[in-house]
């Protein structure tokens, strides 16, 4: 990669003068209304966020410290318990989802490629079927397991279904990006079992796909309201809702916190995914 970029840069350095002129002229031609459009678009996104942040800091007007409502939220035992519960459920969802889906998608790609379209169809079902129908179905299915229904882990099992489309898409794309068949056969010819191949050869090359799928899964599990409320669990989204019902300022602060969390997760996805995607690229450099 490095050498490739190097040669490209060298090439543009030698032909640089003429090229730079052309580029500068093109940049100058960028119409003003393009810029305007950009500003309008940015405003559309940033004004609500700004208002939210501003509102959450409003405490100052009431003679309170700027970050009063944030401190208030962080001091709530409810905040901490519900937040950790949701984190815990998210991680469980990721664990169950990954353990379930990685071998499945691997197997479908390797041995049953004809089954892949069917798999794709199954994977979009959670989008098509209304959540409420899904929940009623799942609960009816889990009903005999009364001990499970009462535990928060049941949410993880349900969220796995919601996360299925994202996990599948992400893993599917990841496996299509590498030569799964050849890599697997190479490992097997060297004596590796299928399990060992999966763990030492395939998984490391699916890092970006797994991280991407996992973060989307976390986003779903951290934000899901309907099921948690129906089953009566006090998760983070429920807490946000209840706070919002009763207390406007803390709710705004809470929204900002949850927004920052989501944004942080996306940034992590972008950074981790971006880095290992370049690492997996089969660039041929002399």
């Amino acid at each position: 990669m490095a050498t490739l970029t190097g040669t490209l840069e060298d090439a543009s350095a030698t032909t640089g003068r003429a090229g730079a002129g052309r580029i500068r002229r093109r940049r100058k031609r960028l119409p003003l209304w393009h810029l305007l459009w950009l500003v309008v678009g940015a405003l559309y996104f940033f004004v609500p966020i700004y208002s939210l942040v501003q509102f959450s800091m409003e405490g100052g007007a009431h003679g309170l410290a700027w970050f009063h409502w944030y401190r208030y939220i962080f001091d709530q035992p409810e905040f901490r318990t519900t937040f950790w519960l949701s984190i815990q459920i998210s991680l469980e969802t990721v664990a169950v989802g990954v353990v379930l889906m990685v071998p499945t998608v691997f197997w479908v790609h390797l041995r049953l490629p004809r089954f892949r379209p069917a798999m794709e169809l199954i994977a979009v079902l959670p989008f098509v079927v209304p959540p409420i129908v899904l929940i009623v179905g799942i609960i009816a299915f889990l009903h005999p397991l009364t001990w499970l229904i009462g535990r928060p882990e049941v949410l993880a099992l349900i969220y796995v279904v919601f996360a299925l489309p994202f996990l599948f898409r992400s893993l599917d794309a990841g496996m299509r990006a590498i030569d799964l068949k050849t890599l697997t056969e190479a490992a097997e010819s060297l004596g590796a079992s299928t399990f060992r191949t999966l763990v030492t050869v395939i998984l490391p090359n699916l890092r970006a796909a797994i991280i991407g799928g996992a973060l989307l899964t976390v986003a779903i599990a951290m934000g899901e309201y309907t099921v948690a409320s129906l089953l009566g669990f006090n998760t983070f989204p429920i807490y946000i809702y209840q706070t919002g019902e009763a207390l406007a300022y803390p709710a705004a602060a809470l929204s900002v916190i949850s927004f920052l969390l989501t944004w942080g997760a996306m940034l992590a996805l972008f950074l981790l995914g971006g880095r290992s995607r370049t690492a997996a690229q089969p660039v041929l450099a002399k």
Partner: protein, 356 residues
């Protein structure tokens, strides 16, 4: 060392018969190439030997033991693939060590052996590079080192050089052969490139439609093709219809021109018609003055086309015996004028029949 025997391998994919009762046996330490056109079943045969594919019937014997029921990861065969197959998350060294690690060898031993093997393939300095930092040819070298690291009984290569450019291909094929000879490893090499097969193999198995058409040394395959398919597939052949004039002298005649067939077996009677074959490089072409009659033992024709191939020029001819092709040394080809009359002579011992 290790012998390999394919016995009656049969494999269908739906309506396509990929292998039709294929038999092939490879002596210990021998380098055999499977050569054939696309779709003739080479890869299928190799993958059955490797354990990635299964025959409908037939056996694969390694040292006399049938391994059909053994999974690929227990066959201890080195395999080099056509597609780049290095593990992208591992350095060259870690790739080479992979098989040894699975065999539970200690870290010191692995590192030492990996270095030896990478030096053997000329990449001692690239141990710490990742596959993405290696050229295609270098990646295939590492893949070769990796497959040799498990000290395989058999080395299998499926068109390992086909993705590389011509120069690297020639260089690497010679290196594969050098290493194979050095280690004395039994090798099955799949290719559709005849030059590759002829230049590196002990024996070449020419395949067509799931069967071995002919197996023999490169010289036998090139000099004495047994079937019309082999004659047409390996190199270029002039093909002539002839009639037997004398069975004992093995003399045949084509349009009144007599030729002696160079073949130890000649099961024809006087008056039989047969096909005879002459390689283009065995035609001697000389300019002929207008109106002259060619000397005894040669026949007349006119040049129709010239294709410059470097050391030789391929000359198209319209002769008394039919249209033919001659490979003439490029220096001598300068004496020939397009469309001008020429006298053509066949080198002694160059006329063959199919021996099957």
């Amino acid at each position: 060392m290790t012998t390999v025997e394919l016995r009656g391998l049969h494999r269908r994919f739906g309506d396509v018969v990929a292998l039709e009762h294929l038999d092939l046996s490879i002596a210990s330490g021998e380098f055999i190439s499977m050569l054939g056109p696309s779709g003739c079943g080479k890869t299928t045969a190799l993958r059955i030997v490797a354990g990635f594919e299964w025959p409908d019937s037939g056996e694969v014997l390694i040292d006399g033991r049938n391994v059909i029921d053994l999974p690929a990861n227990r066959r201890n065969m080195g395999m080099v693939f056509q597609a780049y197959s290095l593990f992208p998350n591992m350095t060259a060294q870690k790739n080479v060590e992979f098989g040894m690690r699975i065999r539970g060898q200690s870290g010191d031993k692995r590192a030492k052996r990996a270095r030896e093997l990478l030096e053997l393939v000329g990449l001692g300095a690239a141990m710490d590079r990742y596959p993405r930092q290696l050229s295609g040819g270098q990646q295939q070298r590492v893949a070769l080192a990796r497959s040799l690291a498990i000290e395989p009984g058999v080395l299998l290569l499926d068109e390992p050089l086909s993705a590389l450019d011509a120069k690297v291909r020639v260089q690497l094929r010679d290196e594969v052969r050098r290493i194979q000879l050095q280690l004395g490893i039994t090798t099955l090499y799949v290719t559709h490139d005849q030059e590759e097969a002829l230049s590196v193999s002990d024996r070449v198995a020419v395949m067509s439609n799931g069967r071995v058409e002919q197996i023999g040394t490169p010289a036998e395959i090139y000099g004495h093709p047994k079937t019309a398919f082999v004659a047409a597939f390996v190199g270029t052949m002039n093909q002539l219809e002839a009639t037997v004039v004398s069975a004992s002298d093995k003399t045949v005649s084509c349009m009144g021109f007599n030729m002696t067939v160079h073949e130890s077996r000649f099961d024809y009677a006087v008056g039989d018609t047969l096909k005879v074959f002459v390689r283009p490089e065995n035609l001697r072409v000389q300019p002929l003055a207008n109106g002259d009659v060619p000397a005894a033992g040669s026949f007349a024709g006119r040049t129709t086309s010239f294709t410059f191939l470097g050391p030789v020029t391929r000359v198209g001819l319209n002769t008394d015996l039919g249209s033919m092709i001659a490979d003439v040394s490029s220096a001598l080809a300068l004496n020939l004028t397009p469309g001008a009359p020429v006298a053509i002579e066949l080198l002694p011992g160059s006329v063959h029949t199919l021996t099957d």
